[in-house]
């Protein structure tokens, strides 16, 4: 599918989003979105997901329900989101006001050889989220649109869904800590204040 616009740089997009995070909590998808978040700077309140493809948005939902006063961001990829589309329906039913799901949509499976995903053939993730019942959805096609939308990710009554159309450049990996138990404990200590 030909595009009529210059797609965004994913690292730059993620860095710009997270620059305004303040107290927000972050769940990443696996693969590129995980490396993008790590490249933007580590935080105790980042939980990097290294496996379980298709589950990032649901982890975000559980966290958003458990921490209703904190903003929760999920930053994942189009392939990961496509693997768990039912999550859009489940999240829409719960309507967590504090959850924003951001999909970095390069229309490719980036870690496996850049094969096209369904969004490449026209599947509209933001449209699906809207139809599921997300009160605010957007497909971001320009840096200007991203700048304008970022405040909504943190302030709008959610759940918010945002697909950011990014280019398919293969960027150097920036690997965060990969010990899941350590990441969980660090996150809980920062957010809950205890390990029990």
């Amino acid at each position: 599918m030909q595009t009529r616009f210059k797609k965004l740089d994913r690292r730059d997009a993620v860095a710009r989003i997270l620059k305004q995070r303040r107290e927000a909590l972050l769940i990443t998808g696996l693969g590129s979105s995980c490396w993008d978040a790590a490249a933007a700077g580590d935080s105790d309140t980042n939980f990097y997901v290294w496996g379980g493809m298709g589950g990032a948005a649901m982890i975000g939902l559980g966290l958003a329900i458990a921490q209703p006063l904190r903003r929760v961001l999920v930053i994942t990829g189009d392939g990961e989101m496509l693997m768990g589309l039912g999550a859009l329906a489940t999240i829409a039913v719960q309507r967590p006001k504090n959850l924003s799901v951001i999909v970095l949509d390069n229309e490719r499976y980036g870690e496996t050889g850049m094969q096209a995903t369904h969004t490449h053939y026209g599947v509209d993730l933001a449209g699906m989220a809207a139809c599921a019942g997300f009160p605010l959805t957007a497909t971001i096609n320009s840096n200007k649109a991203l700048t304008e939308f970022i405040p909504q990710l943190y302030e709008a009554n959610g759940p918010v869904f945002c697909s950011v159309k990014v280019d398919d450049a293969k960027l150097p990996m920036v690997l965060p800590e990969r010990d899941g138990t350590w990441l969980k404990s660090r996150f809980r200590k920062a957010v809950v204040g205890s390990l029990d």
């Binding site: 909590l25 769940i27 939980f47 997901v49 290294w50 496996g51 379980g52 493809m53 298709g54 589950g55 990032a56 948005a57 649901m58 982890i59 975000g60 939902l61 559980g62 966290l63 958003a64 329900i65 458990a66 921490q67 904190r70 768990g84 039912g86 999550a87 329906a89 489940t90 039913v93 719960q94 899941g180 138990t181 990441l183 969980k184 996150f187 809980r188 957010v191 809950v192 205890s194």
Partner: protein, 243 residues
């Protein structure tokens, strides 16, 4: 007129002495859960519903058979309500579920309870993620599902194991004792092995008296010692389905 009923109910009826006298084709040691009893044998059967599944296929027959003692027959066993109370007392505030008949009371009570979150899922694997996320935020949850859903969760259990997340599933079994639907057998017979292969501890319950002690132990093993635990509510406890 003969109507099908579940094996356990047939046993009760037999113990009451009504079955053999009425001359039905019923073999107490038959492997099938479904036997046929005369419609008349079900009249006045106060405890029928305690066994979960009378399995009357014929709508008209069901109506006739259940009419005499309807209010008492719909009362059901006591353990599901006690189980819900136990979970709440232990601080469980998230009930994520894919519906199954064996979880009916837990689901309905969680939906009616403003102090907990009831989360219907489109597929069981979503529940693995949502409980992990809840744990990251300091909340306790439980996942309710049928054994068929275990297959849907397998890869997501990597998250539980890699993060050593406390994780509690209550699983109502299909495809075990007395199952009448052959398509339920493959997953039902593999459920425990699949869970154990992914590092989930399994505890089976066959008697109503064991429900609370077992789930109580499972809660401790999950939230105190950080394990992934599955409690399997077997068809001996819940009653088998013939379809």
């Amino acid at each position: 007129m003969l109507v099908p009923c579940c094996f356990r109910l047939a046993r009760v009826l037999e113990q009451r002495g009504g079955l053999r006298a009425s001359g039905l084709d019923y073999k107490p040691d038959a492997s099938s859960c479904s036997v046929f009893v005369p419609l008349g044998a079900l009249y006045g059967c106060r405890r029928a519903d305690k066994y979960g599944s009378i399995c009357v296929f014929d709508t008209e027959a069901e109506k006739v058979a259940l009419t005499p003692e309807k209010s008492e027959q719909t009362a059901g066993p006591a353990w599901p309500d006690a189980l819900y109370d136990l979970l709440c007392a232990e601080g469980v505030t998230l009930f994520a579920y894919v519906p199954d008949a064996g979880h009916k009371v837990l689901i309905e009570r969680s939906l009616a309870d403003p102090s907990v979150k009831s989360i219907p899922l489109t597929t069981e694997e979503e529940g693995v993620g949502v409980l992990a996320g809840a744990n990251l935020g300091g909340a306790k949850g439980v996942l309710l599902m049928q054994s068929s859903g275990v297959g849907n969760c397998v890869n997501f259990l990597s998250l539980v194991k890699s993060g050593k997340f406390p994780f509690l599933i209550l699983i109502s079994m299909r495809g075990d004792f007395g199952e009448g639907n052959p398509w339920q057998m493959p997953m039902g017979q593999s459920t425990q092995r699949v869970l154990e292969a992914m590092g989930v501890l399994c505890m089976r319950i066959e008697n109503a008296d064991d429900v609370l002690p077992t789930v109580s132990a499972a809660l401790t093993m999950t939230f105190k010692s950080g394990n992934a635990v599955a409690v399997l509510l077997t068809q001996k406890l819940l009653g088998a389905k013939a379809f």
